[in-house]
Symmetry: D3
């Protein structure tokens, strides 16, 4: 089994207790999270040899973040120390009609100001089987985008499989910039992951007949989106998460996997939300685990969706679930009966 | 823009953490709230020049309460210091079939024992545009009722608009007493606010075909209630909140506004409740803001209901929302999707 | 009114805050609970003269547990001190599709290693009206089973009514062992309580046409189960709880009582769960209260189910409700409207 | 062994966490305490058959307070329910030069408005060995003073020993009033307890050569104070606590017992304070235990002082210590070495 | 009475609970503080008309910070909104030999990147009596230094008194840079405040015969330092705080005031520390209050030192004390006896 | 650099918040600790390649404990999974004259019931430089003692250095049993660590002229103790910790190292205690680090004592300090001045 390299930003996540808003908070929970770090933790939880690569300042927050990752069994020996600050984000948990809100204070973070020479990709990819990044990393800065490109090239050259979660963030860059930069990266990608919004915002690929806010989903529409993305960049595998937000408390959650011209839809779950942040990443982590473990497409998308379904019941970004728990759910037991 | 004067009681609110009952509690959250103070905070949050008037003892609880109000931008310079105690109420949060429970320890509070000469209404209403009080204040004591009446007269004389939330509290007075005292006050009122129970308990105005516990609501019935109230006291504007309690965790919530003989019904929301106390006050705050800002009746009732719908997702009595958030909801986005 | 003797194990219950998993926990709430202790507390809360009998080590945890029980008015003067440890169990609260999980560390507890000579049943049953135990106690060890048998014999001899909640725990013993031991005890039992799983796992009595996970319930099937159990052991009264797990957050909850060949079904409640552990015991407590207070069968089962319905909204195992609250719910008011 | 009846007020004690001031608090710990209730708990902790008598309103705070007392084994069956409210006091913990601060909201409490006919002293003193009250109770109201007097007379008549802690509270009454009322009560008292301030403020008995703030203590001075008090009211036993406040964090603590014309001084402890409130009551509890258990005077005062020395290391008012712990300290081991 | 304008940075202060280190923290308390904001709060607490001027980003942290300041009565109407982030600092509380540790994440804060044209000093100083800033502000950036200089000039021109706390921060600038920039500002200053380290690090003025770590203080040495500073920049009033760190838990604390060629030394306090951060600012706030209120020099320095002595017993940066409490301490009562 | 193998028990440590006693606790902090695990964490914190070996049950507590250790960089790949339970201990923090109290619930733990064949010492010591265990492990059971002996033999055979902290626990075994078993182990030991009590209780080696409770320490006495131990078992290096308990809040703390017939005494620190548990282990960790890093004896003992001095200011068992912090203290800066 090879190494699963995840590259991106890890931030300090600060959230008020319970349903308090940031403006009301006198206490904040601190944890450490980020799109790619969340995937690395999922993979380590499932027994994969996960490694997380980033650049972080040399201070106590970093010490704490690395301690957490290391605790999960994520290899952090390729993390580069330096730069000025760790990105921070504040999360307030929504409920009912009030949306959850994320406030970013990530500018000037070490990784966003990292230089290509900070990372020795030859060494990093030594023994690697998989490389995962998301659209957030190239959005951080031109240098970060350059680092991503270099990493993709190196990975490709070494036969390392590459997955990318589009993860469009409109506060980091415009659709135009995103489309342009991501296009250059997608040609290296083997597995693309996105939601309905990402594809439209980044590449203008729109699913006809879908209404996100309204909650209606069209199977054909999503197949067309995946197919278009797959063909445009010659990506063999495309996965799309299908979320219908009924409210900040209740969502419908499903996914589809498009492989070799065929689309596989998962079961749809009605989720009562404990903490929704990191939901997409838990899907990515589940999918990469399943695909790299040789699951059939239908089983792979069921695993990814069941894993991320469970994540919505877990506090903080990391998905604290076991393969057994995911499997039990995808096999049909979502009754939530007490396990004694 | 003139001052919005809110007059009434502010109390220390003590509630156990989460869903613990008072009898189980080892810790209590302390905040400060009251029907009219909650409205003042809502108005200040929406940018109005709100002022809160009351009488409070000269101690550290008062210091803390005033600090909170002042923090929201509420003017507390007309608060009178004196008397013996601040009222206290204990709230335990219900869930499912278990109702929330409020235990009052408000007797002998400074405001309930205040005298008319404590307040210089001429000075208080100087530059005022609006005066708001609720049926709780005159229920506190005969003196408090007298103060309300004097305030109403002064306000009327100065052309200040007057709103009153009926807010019937059966632990404070009987229906008979309430009906008698409130009748004397209603003749000064421009905007009356109530729920289906208030109108019946205070003035015997009953909506036919409505079953509060059962959850059925009749549009015609509510129109009749509003019309009757409007005609009886010559009140141009009457608003009624329409709550259907499915359980302590889930409510339906809507409102209607009766203006110039016509009734406007808002959308109905299905609310998953975080904290229900202060829900009615957040409606009042939203309505007064909307009406005083020149909103059309339909838009005004939609704003008030959307504002109070959001309140149900906010901990403690004060409604920590912005005009933008309310507007977004009333314009249709109640999907609760994460705001990044 | 005589004494209600409950005999079994009380453990330290340790649970993370909110929805955190044990593996994430840095803090645990500690309370003290156990099937029979929970029933004793319910009975004391309803005004019965409850007594709890067990064996506990002589340490500060025991001191704390007894203080809690004594606080509720439960007589603990027959608790035997000695042995090596108090059992412990860890509970993590599930949500949505993630099940609640109970991790037991109860082996070698004082009660599980108690000897028959530890208890002076003559003295314990002096003035007793009722004896309650559950299938957990005989499952702890052969000695514990022997103690149960001796207690049943003594109780019977003194005309004390005996109730038993089957409460099958597959981590403590096998179906075979359970069936064999429980059969020897059931002949003394006047009131048997169980859920659909208990009857099948312990005595192989299966309800046709029921699908627990799927949530479908068959009235006839349950009647057959109760009847079979009643006839097999000559038990006049059999009660069955009917839970449909929609998810870890939402359950349907009802019960049936089989008396003198006739079955009485309660209303069914849709419960939004705060804490589900102890739900069955609160049913038992409600039922014993109702039966011993002379309630008619239909009213008795309604009381028991309403009581346990409310328990699902209460944190920790003990059912912190009053007769008034239960009665109000069984009489139809489950709207959860704020009690001021 | 007879009953030890303690009569007085129990209040809800609300304190911010740690060293936060009330004006900063968002959370308060709630416990229940009062001078005589604290003594009752101490006596129950030492194995005495303690009973607490008061009047409390019929609400959930009372339910919780009684549950706590009952948990300690204090008999609360003579508590009278009725009246309007439970007294409340807020405590903020001082440190260094900043004094601890107690804010009372106890006016109009049920006990302060109780009538003599509320208490059936014949029944209460049935089987009683000791009656304890403090100078706080008669200070609450004229009726409360009258109840105290009646209780003293009844106790005397039944041969019940009477102890009284002077406990002068200048916010409740003036020195003049106190002196006058207390004089009428002291003639029934067998054991008087006070500190240097009480004797001066209530009876004008002043210790020459003592400077409380400065921390100098004069043995002769205290003997004179005790002797004067003893002779004035014909009280055989007088105990005085000797506190030197170095700061809110560090105190010196000792005591003296004057019996039959002879004074016994305890060791002096340097205490690093965790929670100082209830310190005097823990002295009273220790003294009553020791005297009623036949301790020699020197041993009795050492026990009382060691008990109250330990109390300063315990959070909240109740003294959570065992006879063993007190004895170990009075026998010389105050090294605080870990007990494994 | 005129306005007291304080200009500088306010940051989010994040600290673990109790004595946990940052690397151990799962929760952080959030408050808002900064050298000049702390002074503004002190002045407002003492009844002065304080105003705080800064630049902050337009987000929820700012909303919360301003709400806090406004709550204390600090005028924040001249705060400029804009820029990218609010500075953050992490504080871990030391104990015994382990020092408290402050980790700054303040780079790129809005105020550090502010431009001179952001502030309209004419308007800000309208009606002003006093202007206070510290050496931290010019250290943030060249632009910030420029803004300070402009403010000083404007203040001087309008006859506003100027105070400056040297507050040298070696992580923000070098001694050389500090000396050079501060020299340009000191010529406008009327009241200079510093500790023994500031004077040496910024201006190379060293007190002979002092050993900070060792804890020995020389009165003559400090007089020379003050005199030198006073003469060098023609500053009439110089105050120096005298801290001897015995450990992170215990400090000696005193101060001296040099006015018109004469030095006044305060009493020295032995402080048991609750929270030491903000101690210097509380001295500044006390001093400015005393000087502007016409206190004699000896009384002024006693007030400033007593105020800051008390601050060491208060959690978080703001000094939550009243004039009465300060006066009581400076008048000699530091015994910390309970205030009932 | 070789591996540092630490072998022993790790337990769940449960402690109430702050200074609450176990009997008062409603919440407990959970961490994971044990004598040898604490040393492993210290060594990893100082950059050594530490490995911890034990046997633990396969459950979520173990998962959490291993995650913590792994987070610190401790290798847990040789931990054996199996057995029935993880040991638990409850700690209540003492203060002033009230001692800290440890309540063990460690019986039947997996490690105490482990068999020699559970551990493959050849593999474990592959690449090892150091082996550390304490007297607690052989005290757990005869099998555990046997495992220790086997490990010592294997280590010796492979030239691995062996250290042993005597750590006598009278609740686990008698002095006789301890003396007998430990004697068999000491002959393999290169570095023996103990306190004054261990040497006396285990081997009857008593320091004349020492009075632990009284706090007097005799340098000559300790030298004799070390010399006797060294000669008796032919142990080249002996270290003794010297604690004088002034109270549970304040201790004096020092150490001595006896190497090649010469004794080296460290500075003595006056420690104000935050958490004392793990203090001895932090000494062991510091000493092993210093000795294995080639420190001279005087410097080694200073490092060990400074490290453990700092530990007393750290919450929980693990010593969260850096080499820099220890070095700074041993070099003389214990002033606790804020590090900005």
């Amino acid at each position: 089994m090879g190494k699963f390299v995840c590259f991106g930003e890890i931030m300090a996540r600060l959230n008020p207790l319970g349903y308090l808003r940031v403006v009301q908070a006198e206490q904040l929970e601190i944890s450490y999270a980020g799109g790619e770090a969340n995937v690395a933790v999922s993979l380590a939880n499932y027994g994969k040899d996960a490694s997380f690569v980033t650049k972080l300042p040399d201070n106590d927050l970093t010490k704490s973040a690395l301690r957490k990752l290391r605790g999960y069994g994520v290899d952090v020996s390729d993390v580069v120390l330096g730069g000025e600050r760790m990105g921070i984000y504040f999360v307030e948990k929504g409920a009912s009609q009030r949306a959850s809100k994320v406030i970013y204070d990530r500018k000037y973070s070490s990784i966003s100001m990292a230089k290509p020479e900070d990372f020795d990709w030859d060494k990093i990819f030594d023994g690697a089987e998989w490389f995962h990044f998301t659209g957030i990393t190239p959005a951080l800065s031109d240098e970060a985008a350059e680092v991503c490109l270099e990493a993709c090239k190196k990975a490709k050259g070494k036969g390392v499989k590459i997955s990318c979660d589009l993860n469009y963030r409109n506060k980091l860059w415009s659709s135009e910039k995103a489309g342009q930069v991501m296009a250059g990266l997608m040609e290296y990608v083997d597995v693309a992951i996105g939601n309905e919004e990402d594809c439209e915002k980044v590449f203008g690929i729109k699913s006809e007949g879908t209404n996100v806010t309204g909650g209606s989903l069209s199977k054909e529409g999503y197949t067309v989106v995946a197919e278009t993305l797959s063909k445009k960049f010659n990506i063999p595998t495309v996965a799309i998460t299908l979320r219908s937000s009924l409210s900040a408390s209740d969502n419908k959650w499903a996914g589809m996997l498009y492989v070799d011209g065929k689309s596989y839809f998962s079961k749809e779950y009605l989720v009562h939300i404990v903490d929704r942040v990191g939901g997409g990443d838990s899907f990515g982590g589940g999918l990469i685990y399943a695909l790299s473990s040789g699951y059939e497409p239908q089983k792979a998308i069921e695993f990814a969706v069941a894993a991320s379904c469970l994540k919505h019941s877990i506090e903080h970004d990391f998905n604290e679930v076991t393969i057994d728990e995911v499997t039990k759910l995808m096999d049909g037991d979502g009754s939530g009966r007490v396990q004694r």
